[in-house]
């Protein structure tokens, strides 16, 4: 295991540390669930110790095979995916995958998804006992599964109910990942906050589809999928801005972050931390480039503490 590298910020005395509902991150750059596997996939390319946090691929109670192919299609400045929560299940995750991350100096946030409200409670209880879990991200916004997923996230009452059962089953910080596929994301965020969430992740993918004009059929095996990448960034920044105004919870902002400038937009809109997702596919070092760019920006503008920038566009 490599020792954490001394980053420029540590030498210059800049403070990049943020507190996401009790999860202490040494810098605000995390990975978005589903885009970074379980960490080891990217260990050849970056020093995982330098990440603010890792959010692992969504975990369910039972193993899931995932959706039929094609699962991915490129769209203008973005991608549509319909992976369908392929994962080995919570027991294999705890036994085989989680221990590989324990040696690293970074908080591991586990994304969970259920088909029923009770599933979320069981997952939270199981992970509460697991060593090396810093927090739980509740996925109530996956557009690619038939049961559960986004239906919990599109109804404020259901979103609150899921949040409540997770909170009742774990003492670890609970982050709820919100769906943009709703009439009012603020209404969902308010219910989730009232149910005891410690932080919010915003946003999951936008529901979309693509059609092959040659075959005259939908491209994705699942017909519809989730849109991510630069194409969704303005939507994501807007949701962070709106929720920051009304809900006093720390926000992890995500949606199309490719560069430090993109990340700073989210931070200025009100995100205390950011997650890099689709960019990892294009550039396996994207998280490090974003982190180094934020440090340069802070140095250039004489910002001593990253928290000074959080929500600064509102002031």
């Amino acid at each position: 295991m490599t020792a954490p590298k001394r980053v420029a910020a540590e030498k210059s005395g800049m403070n990049l540390a943020v507190d996401i509902g009790g999860i202490l991150m040494k810098n605000p750059v995390a990975t978005a669930s589903g885009t970074f596997g379980y960490g080891s996939e990217y260990a050849p390319y970056i020093d995982l110790n330098r990440l603010g946090a890792i959010v692992v691929k969504g975990i369910t109670l039972q193993p899931r095979a995932g959706n039929t192919t094609p699962r991915l299609v490129e769209t203008p400045a973005g991608i549509l995916n319909s992976i369908g929560l392929q994962n080995p299940g919570v027991e294999v995750f705890i036994d085989d995958l989680l221990p590989r991350l324990v040696g690293y100096d970074l908080p591991v946030i586990v994304n969970i998804a259920g088909e029923t409200v009770q599933d979320y409670g069981r997952l939270a209880a199981r992970l509460d006992r697991a060593r090396g879990v810093a927090g739980i991200e509740v996925n109530i916004s996956c557009p690619n599964v038939k049961k559960g997923g986004m239906q919990f996230g599109s109804d404020p009452e259901m979103a609150g109910e899921v949040t409540g059962i997770v909170k009742a089953n774990t003492g670890k910080p609970v982050i709820v990942k919100l769906s943009p596929n709703v009439t009012s994301i603020v209404a969902v965020a308010e219910k989730v906050a009232a149910a005891g969430a410690d932080a919010l992740s915003m946003i999951n993918t936008l529901l979309g589809m693509a059609i092959d004009v040659k075959t005259r059929r939908p491209v994705l095996g699942n017909v519809v999928g989730g849109l991510s990448g630069p194409a969704v960034k303005p939507v994501a920044v807007r949701t962070v801005w709106q929720v920051y105004c009304e809900v006093k919870l720390p926000i992890i902002g995500m949606g199309g972050i490719m560069t430090a400038e993109d990340a700073l937009e989210f931070i200025l809109a009100g995100a205390a931390a950011v997650a890099v997702g689709t960019a990892n596919f294009v550039n396996p070092r994207a998280t490090m480039d974003v982190l180094e760019g934020i440090e340069k920006y802070m140095a250039a503008y004489g910002i001593q503490n990253i928290n000074e920038l959080v929500g600064a566009a509102h002031r």
Partner: protein, 258 residues
């Protein structure tokens, strides 16, 4: 596994729409194994966004050069084809599992459908270096798409060609031709329909074989689970394997065809 900006040494149009690009990428050339691929950033803006997985076609380790043989199928490959000598492209790789190259085997069989010769040519280079002569079955719609026949013969291999229109060699598919005398350890690459047929012939004749697959790819490093294919899950039916890291080369008996 590297991320590197590689300079284009040569960009050749082999046939309208078919290109061979040669890149200066010393470390990647040293590390590359037949069957592996490079994940190529064809553009420099956000659109198209993703890299394109292109199999390694040929390697010159002394010169530190890697060649990719590709067909223009969309915007990414069109952008790559537009790049000229001296320009740079960003590469990720070599990635994926390669072919098993057995030492001391006297005979190997290569079955390629059209552009499927792309990764198999590198294998033929390696076999040649190991003094292994291969029987190379090349299939294409017409004789024009029978690529690199002279180079393959110069490496010391024997070619058996098949064309759909009968313009060269056997009149029919390359798998039909191979099926007339099926033998040996088979390495295959080509369209899905061809590989499905080839895997049936391999199974019926109890041969060993390895197939190189193609799928829409995201990350290329095993994280996104986009490029999966159905494979045999010993004792548990089938499962999805990742073409990028579990493949792109799979034992012929492992792939479950729809």
């Amino acid at each position: 596994m590297l991320i590197t900006d590689a300079e284009i040494i040569q960009q050749e149009e082999i046939l309208p729409g078919y290109y061979r690009v040669t890149l200066s990428a010393f470390l990647a050339a040293i590390a590359a194994k037949p069957g592996q691929f490079l994940h190529v950033r064809c553009g420099s803006t956000l659109d198209p966004l993703l890299r394109r997985p292109l199999s390694i076609h040929a390697v010159n380790r002394e010169r530190g050069e890697i060649s990719l043989f590709y067909r223009i199928v969309g915007r990414g490959t069109a952008l790559l084809a537009g790049k000229r000598k001296g320009e740079k492209v960003n590469l990720l790789g070599p990635l994926g599992s390669g072919f098993t190259v057995p030492e001391g085997v006297s005979a190997a069989v290569v079955v390629a459908g059209g552009i499927g010769i792309a990764p198999l040519y590198f294998l033929l280079q390696e076999l040649s270096a190991l003094k292994t002569c291969a029987d190379v079955f090349l299939g294409a719609p017409t004789s024009k798409q029978l690529f690199f026949t002279r180079e393959i013969e110069a490496l010391g291999h024997r070619i058996f060609s098949a064309t759909d229109d009968g313009s060269s060699g056997y009149h029919g598919t390359v798998v039909d031709l191979f099926e007339q005398k099926p033998a040996g350890c088979v390495y295959g690459c080509g369209p899905a329909g061809m590989l499905k047929r080839l895997s049936q012939v391999i199974k019926q004749n109890e041969l060993c074989g390895e197939l190189s697959l193609e799928e829409r790819m995201g990350c290329g490093v095993g994280a996104c689970l986009s490029c999966v294919c159905k494979t045999v899950n010993e004792g548990y039916g089938t499962r999805y394997s990742r073409v990028c890291v579990d493949g792109p080369v799979f034992p012929a008996g492992e792939v479950v065809w729809e």
